[in-house]
């Protein structure tokens, strides 16, 4: 299946050609070239998926394939960075997700970005991003993943900063890059630590349950009180947390909404932010077999993040911010599912239900990518018309924008977990898995799910119902090339829940049959419906005074949530006050004044010393002669008499 290489090459080709040709391309031709290449990529991905999933299983287990693997750089005899393609259920699934969403975004952007300055640049960057993201998911080893991990970071940076004349966009892009880079540093440290003991980067070797001797050298080794392996996997998780915006590294994601909305849909909702989830899933056997405590830690961090983000999302007024926090919250769901999961055992070609969490996580990743992209694209269509991100500038849009309205509603229902939309199925599996792990965690997650339903419908009612705002120009439905992707994604959202996902993706590779746990399902649906009802009551008419009263009632909590619990301020404090003021500036001062001062001091002393001796150098030959004679005589005396 070497042709899968073209999945990477085509978007890269798009990036290079559009990037080099630049502004020489007239009109929308850059967009058409990019979209066409991406279309081919998507077709190839679908074909790959079809071919891969229709392959025979061995002992009921799907086998991983590496059609391509080159040694790119050799460090030592056993450590080398390979560049290759690894096809296994999750990577193929990711390829489908990425190429689908990317294609939709490409098409959508033809309308959305029409007439923007830097249209070519935009498509070039999209190509770069798609290339890097595909490279990331097909990575055969952890270092290849790191490489593409960095590349997606850069493409995200470039795309967030697309409107580079806007100071907010610039600082947002900077923030995104630096925060993720900070996390990547830990990722790199984790890789170094892991590879030092296992002597390999290769996923195939790391994740093979049969080949666990490579971890033997790490056994019993501790560093600062923790087992080295735990350190390694925890560090790697920090890297994942940075990309996936887990608390407290989430701060870049809401700001990243300064980028063009389709970019938010592609990168900051559907694909790049789930890279962390993907990484944990990729290394799941390592986490599960060697450092289960880290895996559980991941679950708690993720659950906390999900809760935090859901609360914050309830009070935001910028629609893209609401969606951003919702994304953080949903990624929290996925990681919780991974964290609570166990490795399934294969029995008779079927996987036992211990592996539920893993499957649920991947399933949710899949469905979430679709409906969250849909939400963002819908939001983009609205922003495109309204020219504002603020809820207060919207209201009653359902009449002007019927298609957007319907598709948005579908997505909202999906994320709220209402059957038969896809979100219901995946979220339900996650809740079930959580209840299996720790019931109290299940309760928390259910509460978060309720919050999700509430804030999504708060958003929905505020945009499409409520009081219409005043606009100078008539509002209109988005053009066809924008509504097309919306409709497509909405259709996917409607049907995706019925995909027997466990048959394709599971922790062991064996088929997993999904059962609906009716208790959990019914509870969660009921709670979601109640939340929606509350949202309807509060926001549908736009006249209810309850929200304001609630805000008053919760007072400090409301204000804190509105300011995202001041995490940004804390960061601001740490970076500016501590790092810049207390580290960098003193260091620079130290350099200029102490180290340089010592040097200049040496120079000064030399000068002074010379001046002190200068009287001897009268410039008069006679004095010199006197000194010479005296000196010669003294030397003579010494040599004679001593």
């Amino acid at each position: 299946m070497e042709y899968t290489l073209w999945i990477l090459i085509l978007p890269l080709l798009g990036f290079l050609s559009l990037g080099l040709l630049g502004t020489r391309l007239k009109g929308k031709s850059a967009g058409y070239i990019g979209t066409a290449l991406l279309g081919l990529t998507a077709l190839l991905s679908y074909f790959t998926a079809w071919q891969y999933f229709s392959m025979d299983r061995v002992d009921g287990i799907r086998q991983a394939l590496t059609p391509v693997n080159w040694t790119w750089m050799r460090f030592t005899d056993f450590l080398h960075i390979d560049l290759g393609i690894l096809l296994d259920p999750i990577s193929v699934m990711m390829l489908v997700v990425i190429s689908t969403v990317s294609l939709m975004v490409h098409i959508y952007s033809l309308g959305y970005m029409d007439g923007e300055k830097g249209f070519q640049r935009y498509y070039a960057f999209l190509g770069l991003f798609t290339f890097s993201m595909c490279g990331l998911v097909v990575a055969t080893n952890i270092f290849q993943m790191y490489i593409f991990w960095e590349l997606v970071g850069v493409s995200s940076y470039l795309l967030i900063g697309f409107y580079y004349t806007k100071p907010e966009a610039v600082s947002a892009s900077k923030k995104a890059f630096i925060v993720t880079r900070f996390a990547d540093m830990f990722f790199l440290m984790g890789i170094l630590l892991l590879s030092y003991f296992t002597k390999t980067f290769d996923f195939g070797l790391l994740c093979d349950p049969a080949n666990q001797s490579i971890f033997a050298s790490a056994a019993g080794k501790t560093f600062l009180g923790g087992a080295v392996l735990s350190w390694a996997t925890a560090l790697i998780f920090i890297g994942a947390a940075g990309k996936s915006a887990m608390f407290p590294l989430h701060i870049w994601l809401p700001d990243a909404m300064e980028g063009p909305t389709p970019v938010s849909a592609l990168i900051h909702a559907a694909t790049m932010v789930v890279a962390g989830v993907y990484l944990v899933a990729r290394l799941f056997p390592v986490y599960f077999f060697f450092t289960p405590e880290v895996l559980h830690g991941i679950a708690y961090v993720a659950a906390f993040t999900a809760l935090y983000a859901a609360i914050v999302a309830c009070v935001q007024t910028d629609i893209k911010r609401v969606l951003a926090f919702s994304t953080i919250s949903q990624i929290g769901f996925m990681l919780v599912a991974l964290g609570v999961s166990s490795m399934g055992t294969v029995d008779n070609g079927l996987e036992s239900h211990e592996g539920l969490g893993y499957m649920a996580s991947m399933f949710h990743l899949f469905t979430h990518a679709m409906f969250k992209a849909l939400l963002f694209l819908g939001a983009g269509a609205i922003i495109h018309t309204v020219h504002s991100n603020e809820m207060s500038r919207m209201g009653g849009l359902r009449k002007q924008m019927p298609i957007t309205h319907i598709t948005f509603l579908v997505a909202c229902l999906a994320i709220a977990g209402i059957p038969p939309f896809s979100g219901f199925f995946s979220k339900d599996e996650i809740l079930t898995a959580t209840f299996m792990f720790k019931p109290w965690l299940g309760v928390v997650m259910t509460f978060i799910a309720a919050l999700t339903a509430f804030y999504m419908f708060r958003l929905y009612y505020n945009i499409f119902w409520g009081k219409p705002a005043q606009h100078e120009h008539p509002l209109h439905e988005a053009p066809k090339n924008m509504t097309g992707p919306l409709v497509f994604l909405a259709l996917v959202t409607v049907v995706a829940g019925f995909i027997p996902f466990g048959k394709f993706v599971s922790s062991t590779g064996a088929a997993y049959i999904i059962h609906l746990d009716m208790k959990v399902a019914i509870t969660s649906v009921v709670i979601a419906l109640i939340s929606i009802l509350i949202a309807w009551k509060f926001y549908c008419k736009g006249t209810s005074t309850v929200p304001a009263k609630m805000a008053g009632f919760f007072g400090p909590l409301y204000t804190a949530a509105k300011h995202r619990f001041y995490i940004d301020e804390v960061y601001q404090f740490i970076t500016h006050k501590i790092i810049f003021r207390c580290v960098s500036q003193p260091l620079a001062w130290f350099d200029r004044h102490i180290i340089d001062g010592i040097l200049n001091g040496i120079g000064w002393i030399t000068c002074r010393g010379s001046l002190a001796f200068r009287w001897m150098q009268t410039g008069q030959l006679q004095s010199y002669a006197l000194l010479i004679i005296l000196g010669a005589l003294i030397l003579l005396c010494i040599s004679l008499f001593c």
Binding site: Q622, S623, L626, I629, L630, L633, L636, C637, L640
Partner: protein
């Protein structure tokens, strides 16, 4: 024997002249006098050369120094009309130190000279150097002959002439 006494007397006379006038040459405050004393010293030196039977050397000394150099001095002294040196504290530190150095130096060197054991010379000679030999040595190119230094000397003198003219000439 008479001869020897006479010769000794001549030597002591020359030595006294040299010692006394060289000291006076450097201590007198009038420069013209210093030049005159120098002349005496040089004459006495020429006398020493004759005494050593280096007549040619003595002649050169007389011609070059007494005839040439001293004239130069006198002319320059008169030209610059700085007959008298300005007054200075007679007993400045430098003067004392110089005095110390000089006297110390004389003592030290004399001590060395008088205590040193000189190599014995097997065939001492006080014979006059024949003029022919001097001429050949000066013009020869073999070992122990001095054509090259002689030529270098001549070039040096030429350079000095040119330099002297260039330096001293009035700038227009």
């Amino acid at each position: 024997m008479q001869d020897a006494i006479l010769l000794k007397f001549v030597f002591y006379f020359l030595a006294a002249v040299i010692a006394v006038f060289s000291v006076m040459a450097v201590t007198t405050r009038r420069i013209l006098r210093a030049a005159t004393y120098l002349l005496f010293v040089l004459f006495a030196t020429a006398g020493l050369y004759f005494f050593l039977n280096y007549s040619f050397l003595g002649a050169v000394q007389l011609m070059v120094y007494a005839g040439g150099v001293i004239i130069l001095y006198i002319f320059s002294i008169l030209l610059t009309s700085t007959d008298k040196e300005s007054k200075s504290p007679m007993f400045s530190l430098r003067r004392w130190l110089a005095l110390l150095a000089s006297i110390g130096g004389i003592c030290l060197v004399s001590f060395l000279l008088l205590t040193n054991v000189w190599p014995t010379v097997y065939e001492p000679s006080t014979a006059e150097v024949p003029m022919k030999l001097i001429g050949k040595t000066l013009m020869g190119t073999e070992k122990g002959q001095f054509l090259l230094p002689f030529e270098v000397m001549s070039v040096l003198l030429l350079a000095c002439m040119v330099g002297g003219i260039l330096i001293a000439r009035k700038r227009g």
